[in-house]
Symmetry: C2
Subunit: 389 residues, 2 copies
């Protein structure tokens, strides 16, 4: 008896930063994200009943056992899923094993918690054979990690902050978008030496110490959420992109307004901002966005992706690793370091070479239309995970 | 017939960013600054009547002629000073020559406009033999450069934003401070490759594009101005320092919230922030503040300056220029590159050497108690400037 689920990750265009309830993971403002294609970036999780006689729940992530005592939020999500199943008369008394694996390296700076908790609740819903809606599952995933609530659905997703103290209205909902809206994402993985401030700690320092964040959450984000929904509904990509950049800037502004200040963007991050600003000089075709780290994600429509990649390869030549076959561009476009260098030889001759190695690599992906789902049939057979030995 | 004035520069603790009237230089919020010691950093300006027969006003800055057609604000200030003199029945019809010189290198990132316009109005008041108050002169200097209004007075100075449309109440006033308050300043001149966004252009983009700046000016700064005045009056240096850091952070947050965003702080700036945050772990003894550039100014009481210098010399070894006698620490403390390296050999062995050369040099100065003044007697003889040949 097991079920295997796959979940995409997501990237917020209108940012989540700050909780009004740290226990229930209730945010101080709503947020809107794009779900990223699970073909390239995903967590796969298999949930199974433990063998007869075993009484303890267990967890493995990326082939390593993780003691449940170290991950209280995982314990909580498992408990909430059991409660839900009991209400649906499912078998829940047996111990459960959860085996989980991320397709993306942690170095990518993409929060594995978003896809992780989304995959976990989906796999458990499959194991218990529940017909629970994604909205309802999102409230449970939210208690694992706030942004996980947005990974259950594909396309464009709003995490509605809700107003209730018990969080029962703080859940994900689909944001309708015009049929022609199609976005790709270029993830620029920035080389970094220093340890970062965790987003969980950082956001609560901001809530306490940044007067600008309070104003943002109360007076600015509600207006932006509506503007973003309207832009998606109308298929106004330019407006989607501009709002995305403005909101990323404002999130980092609030980090800087924190005391002591939190810096996530580095000089390299700023060079990417300047590069995108330059590409947008005539019309807004690209949007950068930064989460709690220096990595940029740049969104654009598919017909503009190659121009962006070319500009990035000119500005940020691959690091000199000594390996010519090193994969510098990954995902939907694949280029080795050698190929990346060859692609823009002519243009690069004109620019200074100072930025060599500032990016570790570049990842090309796009939107996911499905969200988290339980795998069936052949796909399940192929991808289900066994307990590591 | 000539008069020579000296003016200090100043550094804002509560920042000025944004004008409500760009023509009159009326700000969107009041600001508070510390006047920096004119013994180390100053502009000296000699104003003189041109020789008989000359009909054209002329200007020289740092030994170079500056066509008045290129500096409309200087023309305006000269005109306003003539109007003031006419109201006082002074001789004003003759052409005027203004010769000005800054003691600090432009690379220091210290706005020479603050001391420059302050010295200019003071020298012209001397030339016209006016008994005009510093408050009244500050309104004229303000129209040259907003921050110049604060350089006329010594100690701690508030530029009151005023409420009148004609700007007649937008002027400097002294902020009283407890006798024991004494601060020194360590200016960290950060090596920089890129051209910066001018503060004049940058602040008006922020006024137009940053929703956080509007909130800051209207709701946050007034509270901080009062808190800062109270802290100075009470001699609460710790509070002065903390407010200074919070306000610098918030100013740069508003720059980042601008679209496209304005970045003045670099990775090196952030390292200085982190160093000061670390030094302040037990109690707040130091405050960083950054203007429209990457240079840090760190304030502290005199008994804590050497600890700060030591920490800076460990973290930021001098650049390898090949000249051992290169002045790496200047002003009240003077150290060559060699001496700077020797001073912390033991400690530096423990840290990584990555930050070598990130600072061009370090300048040690302090508070100025006098503000701008006309030089008299022997001092005038010694320092007056002649028209460069």
């Amino acid at each position: 008896m097991s079920a295997t689920a796959i979940s995409p990750t997501n990237l917020a265009l209108i940012k989540y930063w700050g909780k009004r309830d740290t226990n229930l993971n209730l945010p101080i403002n709503s947020s809107i994200s794009i779900t990223l294609d699970s073909r390239e970036l995903h967590t796969i999780t298999t949930a199974m009943f433990a063998p007869e006689g075993e009484t303890e729940d267990k967890l493995w992530v990326n082939n390593k056992p993780v003691p449940l005592s170290t991950v209280p939020r995982t314990v909580r999500v498992l408990q909430l899923m059991r409660q839900l199943a009991q209400g649906n008369n499912a078998t829940t008394q047996r111990a459960i094993y959860i085996v989980s694996k991320n397709s993306f390296p942690t170095a990518a700076g993409l929060a594995s918690s978003a896809s992780g908790y989304s995959a976990m609740v989906t796999a458990l819903a499959g194991l218990f054979d529940l017909k629970t809606s994604k909205e309802d599952l999102s409230r449970i995933a939210r208690q694992g990690s706030g942004s996980a609530s947005r990974s259950l659905m594909g396309g464009v997703v709003m995490w509605n902050m809700g107003t209730r103290q018990d969080g029962l209205d703080s859940q994900a909902e689909l944001v309708p978008f015009a049929r022609q809206v199609e976005l790709e994402a270029i993830i620029c993985v920035v080389s970094e030496k220093k340890k970062k401030v965790s987003s969980t700690a950082g956001m609560q320092t901001s809530v306490k110490e940044s007067p600008l964040l309070a104003h943002r959450a109360k007076d600015i984000v509600p207006v932006r959420i509506n503007a973003m929904k309207q832009a998606f509904a109308a298929g106004n990509v330019e407006s989607v992109l501009e709002l995305t950049m403005r909101d990323s800037n404002q999130f980092h502004a609030c980090c800087l307004d924190t005391f002591p200040p939190i810096f996530y963007m580095t000089d390299t991050s700023k060079e990417i901002v300047n590069l995108v600003t330059e590409l947008n000089r005539e019309s807004v075709r690209y949007a950068y966005t930064f989460d709690a780290g220096p990595n940029a994600v740049v969104f654009c429509e598919p017909q503009h992706t190659q121009t962006l990649l070319d500009a990035l390869l000119v500005a940020f030549p691959p690091p000199a690793t000594g390996e010519e076959t090193f994969a510098y561009v990954r995902g939907r476009t694949e280029l080795t370091a050698t190929q990346a260098l060859q692609r823009n030889t002519a243009k690069r001759a004109k620019v200074e070479q100072e930025q060599e190695g500032e990016l570790c690599y570049i990842f090309h992906t796009g939107m996911d239309k499905l969200g988290a789902r339980v795998l069936q049939g052949a796909e399940e057979q192929e991808r289900q995970l066994a307990v590591p030995t």
